[in-house]
Amino acid sequence: MFVPQRFLSLLLPLSLLSWVALLLSALSHSGADPWLGRWPEWATQLTQGIFVLSIFLHYRYQPSPLQGQAFVRLLRRLVVGPGLLALGCVGLHLFERLAKDQPIFSGNGLFFTSIYTLNLGLFVIFLARTNYAWRALVLFRSSTRLQREWTLFEILLGATLLFRLVGVNPPNYLGIPIVVTLGLYGVYLSGHQKWVAYLSQRDKWRAALLQAVLLFGVLVFVQYFRLTQYDPQLIAPEAQYAFLLLTAFFSAFYALMGLLVTFFNMPIADIIEQRRNEILRLQRLTQIIQRGQTSAEVYHILLESAVQTVQAEAAWLDLEPGQARLDAAASTFYHNLLPTQADALREQLKGHELPAGKFITNGLNIRLGVEGGTPRVFRSLLQLPLRGLHYTYGMLHLLKVDPHTFDREDLNILQTFTSQAVLSIENLELVRTSLENQRTQEELKIASQVQNSLIPKNLPTDNWFDISSHSLAAKEVGGDFYDFLHLPGRRLAVIIGDVSGKGVTAAFHMAQMKGIFHSLMQENPLAKTERDKFPVPSRFMAQANAALVHCLEKSSFITSSLYIIDYEQGGFVFARAGHCHTLYYHAMREEVFYFESTGLGLGIIRNETYEKHIKNQFYDYSPGDVMVIYTDGIVEARGDGGAEYGEDRLKQRLEECYYLAADEIKSFILNDLNAFTKGYPIHDDQTLLVIKFKSAQPPPLA
């Protein structure tokens, strides 16, 4: 309801004015001063009505006296304010009684009436403040419905005020039921004492005391008015009985109810408070656990919180070593127990044949010897597993000395704790795994860089030939390799290879093969002829095979081809160990073909019989010839419908581009390959070498 601020600021002066008017009116009736004359009856009623209304309205629109949940503060201010008023009232009354006997005051209606009117004013203020304090308490966390009910209560009370104002004095048979009904309504509203539940144990005592004082204050006023009402000296107007009676009744009854509720709340307050603490602890646990950096921290917090919550005398937490995701050395956490004592308890529990899951048992008798003291006997045990989605992480055991001290509620709240802890553990694990993955990724990146450095960057250059290369791994690292080595006597060794499988394993073997290549291609000082100083390709393959026996996995093998090109002689010798056939363009015959040669892959036969399965092939080249060396990642690359690129297509491409330079031939083939496999992931490492022989020219003179 919107009320203009200006009107509200007028309420207090209005109440003061009306009170003065009321005083004058009352005095006029007492006949104390003839000058005043005798005011009409309605004037007294009207001034009294205006006074009560303005005081009540003033307090109605004050800010709520309840701030947050400071219930005790509200009550204290009520006692210190209106409570003191009551004291003042009593003081005035006593003063009046004392002064009555003084001749100067005797029979002096002026004094008596003034005191009475003053007390009436104090009483109204007291009632207004108390009522609106109660309003704040009734409406604490209330529903809209209750707020409407309260407004109705106010309107009805206001209506009783109007009765007198308009001079309507309903007959008793009508008036009494109305007053009783309103009183019952007040009783109903007094039932709303929700705030009591939010008091702490200490505050409950304070609140009860303050309410008792308030109740006393109301009684003092009521008693005063009861006594003075029939005083022969009182020639004051009748008070607004119905309204004051009702508000006084409500004020007193609400205080009484609050007192009773607070009192009856005491015995169960413990439990309520305990539950509230559990909730608070759970909140704290959630926060702390989320901050927990290690699983050990989380387990520790869990154990301590559980112990505090159920006030266990001893406890321990056993963790499954495999599942607990423990980053600490300990796999057990203890509270108020030594590890040896926990062992003793475990032994004794074994004798009880307890179930494996969660349970409570209250009739135990397990004894714990304490050195130099009386043994502790535990009679209650609560056992709770820490269950995650996939694993059970451990088992929590809580012990109490007294029998029958654990209940279902304890189990439920602790289960919330353990779930929370397990969640945190699993979160930590997730974080750890993702960090580890990141690290693995980093390491793979390094591996990839290392492998990249194994692939020759500077291709051999000479005016006798022209080389171009391409390599692409399907994963970070791959199993394809190629290398070059200049041999004395104007010879060049070219090796290509493919390790079965992909990824890291293949990359390791690829590095080994590169090592084998360089160690076998060493000059043999004992060789009789110049040509024997380096192994011929078939011999190289046999030696490589023998070396690989010691380092290759049983199901792994390597395919390789080694070419030794002698450009002084204009020929080359090669051996194919299970590797893809070499594609060749013969310039004189203008023909593209695959070398048909036999040869077994390396690591397939792991004994000396291997040499029978490998042969050398000699070939004389002429200028313009093109040799295309590749791995199966090229010819087995997949395109639409899973079709393979194939040897035939590769051959056709060379037929179309043999006249280009080596680099251009490579690009031509790769462009075609990319067009073929467009949109499909590469599933095997790809390597392509193109060597184009050029017309023999004498080496440039230095």
Partner: protein, 109 residues
């Protein structure tokens, strides 16, 4: 990839169906690694429905080759598609393993 084993008196026939790559190689390896497989005189591998073999697939046969030879168990491949045979041939396995065109010839070996 499906591997079906059909045992008879002293011959075990393995039917390979699908693509033999790194993931399906494990299935075949489990089959070949069984100890009682060496009790047969012959192990025939029907490759009629084998549409592709990767190096990992070849690796499985290669890793068991020596074991079969030592136990004098003949490993015979038959009904091999040309594309698959080509893979065996390039690697030089045709000289090392018995690869025959049909079942009758496989049984005759």
């Amino acid at each position: 990839m499906k591997v079906t084993a059909q045992p008879s008196a002293d011959i075990l026939t393995l039917l390979l169906d699908g693509e033999l790559d790194a993931s399906s190689a494990i299935v075949l390896d489990t089959e070949l690694a069984k100890p009682d497989i060496l009790n047969y005189r012959k192990v025939l591998v029907d490759c009629a429905k084998l549409s592709y073999i990767s190096s990992a697939g070849l690796g499985v046969f290669i890793s068991h080759l020596q074991r079969f030879q030592d136990a004098h168990v003949k490993l015979v491949f038959f009904n091999m598609q040309e594309k698959v045979f080509n893979v065996f041939e390039i690697l030089g396995l045709d000289a090392l393993m018995t690869i025959v065109p049909s079942a009758t010839e496989a049984e005759a070996v």
